[in-house]
């Protein structure tokens, strides 16, 4: 499956790059000005009602190609979306239950075992549309720096990350190409990505910052009470409870999704998160990561999600991203990840089996 995904992602990246070359200059800079003021529905306490279930699947990547425009033209977006839809159809062929085992030693495609097959696209839900914010079809979620790229990490951070190379981070994908990861990656469960361990969704789905995973399980549900706002992430059923108008926990209490406290700034819910543990490590950051999220209703069916990332030990400057969360009528279904985690045991057993085979071979 991984190879198929990788090749699909590759195709998408090329498509995006092509689009970026041909993109027509968009109307002006990324603007926060709204053409007409929108008054959201309100709760009895007067604050906007942000509740509902949101589907954040999108084709807009976190970063965009170097030198490309921030906004896609409707024509380019339509063409790219059509290509993605065609690819999805192509990869949606039913999996044959009576298909033979893959050839021993691999079928010639990437990876030591080759492509053994996996999900068809029926199981995947990577998004089919680019994200629209302020009427602009966005080419990246990152909007600051204006080039739509996460700033380079500091030299010290690069050194730190190199030392921890095989340590997974919260933004890691479910897996890279099986069998091709750096030495040691299959030695222990602790070396596997957090998503594979069912500790957090992969690709920072739960966040913060909550990012699209471009794969499946794209829903978030928000429930608001007087003292708390809950943000439930479908992936790994992670409920982050934001305590309103509260103080942060003492620094000794570290959490997987950090400690989130909230406040209202006008009609915007501002959530401030610190106290991350040293295992989340979003994009290689330290436990001093500081995330500020801003949630606001921009129309009857859309929430705007904006986040700013700060960690002086990792980046020289803060950076900001934003994307729209459309409401959905779909309910969240239980994602019992750990309960059905056959993969972890099989990955480790597979690695031991391979080592034993290699050891036997070298003895001969």
């Amino acid at each position: 499956m991984r190879n198929r995904i990788v090749s699909r992602m590759g195709a998408m990246a090329i498509a995006i790059a092509v689009a970026c070359l041909t993109v027509v200059p968009a109307p002006g800079q990324v603007s926060k000005a709204s053409p007409k003021p929108y008054s959201p529905p309100r709760l009895p306490d007067g604050h906007p009602d942000l509740q509902g279930t949101y589907d954040v699947a999108t084709l807009t990547p976190v970063e965009r190609a170097i030198g490309s425009k921030a906004v896609l033209t409707p024509e380019d977006a339509a063409r790219l979306e059509k290509d993605v839809a065609a690819l999805k159809d192509k990869n949606n062929e039913a999996i044959k239950g009576d298909r033979p085992a893959p050839p021993k030693g691999g079928d010639g495609s990437v990876g030591p075992a080759g492509n053994v097959g996996g999900y068809n696209t029926f199981w995947l839900d990577p998004g089919s549309k680019y994200n629209v914010v302020d009427g602009q079809i966005r080419a990246s979620i990152v909007v600051d720096p204006p080039d739509g790229r996460v700033p380079p990490v500091t030299a010290a951070a690069r050194q730190r990350m190199a030392a921890l190379r095989a340590r997974p981070t919260s933004d890691a994908l479910e897996s890279r190409d099986p069998g091709l990861e750096p030495p040691g990656s299959y030695d222990d469960p602790e070396r596997r990505p957090l998503g594979e361990r069912c500790l957090l969704g992969f690709a920072s789905t739960s966040g913060p910052p909550a990012l699209p995973d471009y794969f499946y399980n794209n829903l978030h549900q928000i429930v608001q009470t007087k003292d708390a706002v809950m943000i439930l992430t479908e992936m790994v059923h992670d409920a982050r409870i934001v305590r309103m108008n509260a103080q942060h926990l003492p620094k000794t209490i570290r959490r997987w999704m950090g400690d989130s406290v909230g406040r209202w700034e006008g009609d915007t819910l501002v959530v401030d998160t610190t106290n991350f543990n040293d295992k989340t490590r979003f994009r290689g950051s330290t436990e001093n990561l500081h995330v500020v999220e801003r949630f606001s209703r921009v129309d009857a069916r859309t929430l705007l999600y904006r986040f700013t990332i700060e960690d002086p030990d990792t980046w020289d400057r803060p950076w900001t991203g934003e994307y729209a969360w459309p409401l959905t009528d779909e309910p969240i279904f239980e994602y019992a990840c750990h309960e059905a985690n056959y993969a972890m045991g099989n990955i480790l057993r597979g690695a031991r089996l391979r080592e034993n085979e290699e050891a036997a071979k070298s003895k001969k």
């Binding site: 529905p41 509740q51 222990d188 959490r255 019992a336």
Partner: protein
Amino acid sequence: MSKRSEYSMKTMTAAAVAAAVLTMAAVPVAAQTPAYRAPRAPDGKPDLNGIWQALNEANYDIEAHVARPAMAVRPGPYGPVPAASVLALGAAGAVPPGLGVVEGGEIPYKPEALAKKKENQQHWLEADPEIKCYLPGVPRANYMPYPFQILQSPSAFVIVYEYAGAVRNVFLTDPGPPPVDSWMGQSVGHWEKDTFVVDVKGMSDQTWFDRAGNFHSDALHVVERYTRTSPDVISYEATIEDPNVFTRPWKMSMPLYRRQEKNAMLLDFKCPEFVEELIYGQWRKKPLSK
């Protein structure tokens, strides 16, 4: 979110006036305890928001029981002793006694199901889903020794459990039959006067009621009743129905207490991490010494 909450000032005002009148007119009646009136949510329903926890021995054994030396035992020369696998825990691994939460004292098992329960209990260490950090199901989630938080708004009702980060979204509009079984089931809630009634269906047969092997099949149907009976207590009842396992429906009941700490909140208990050594340790490149 299709429906917006409506806040009726009129209702609230009327209620306030009624309450004021009652207060003025109320004459203490010795023989009668007036029913507790819970604080109201903005929509006029009793407010169940908060952090709650059971304070009992139900997670060890929902039936009435005396103390036992351990959750896993083996025959000793003069009666049961802790099984070798849990011996090192000493008194910390013993089962505290409890009067039970099952109304009537005993669960009405069918004979073959009772045999299965005993077998479960014997193989507790291998078979209890809690050992492997699996989602606890309903009603067990409510009386595990961890707090849980109710988030109630006019348009939503969600219960978040500290244990394993389990979550229940209680639908306020019936979405129809559950599409497939799940660990926590499908919950649909409605108000009957001041009681929040939750109908839970679609649970798999993988969860248990406690550490004593009490179990159910995938035909389990639970009806829960949440009633606030004092500022810091929810009276909780669960009616259990499972014709595959029990001869008749039966009921458990217990108080749920509000956590009193000013800074009470749910913390992380992401236990999949804590059972990796148990489940996967044997496949480490260098397994740890036993």
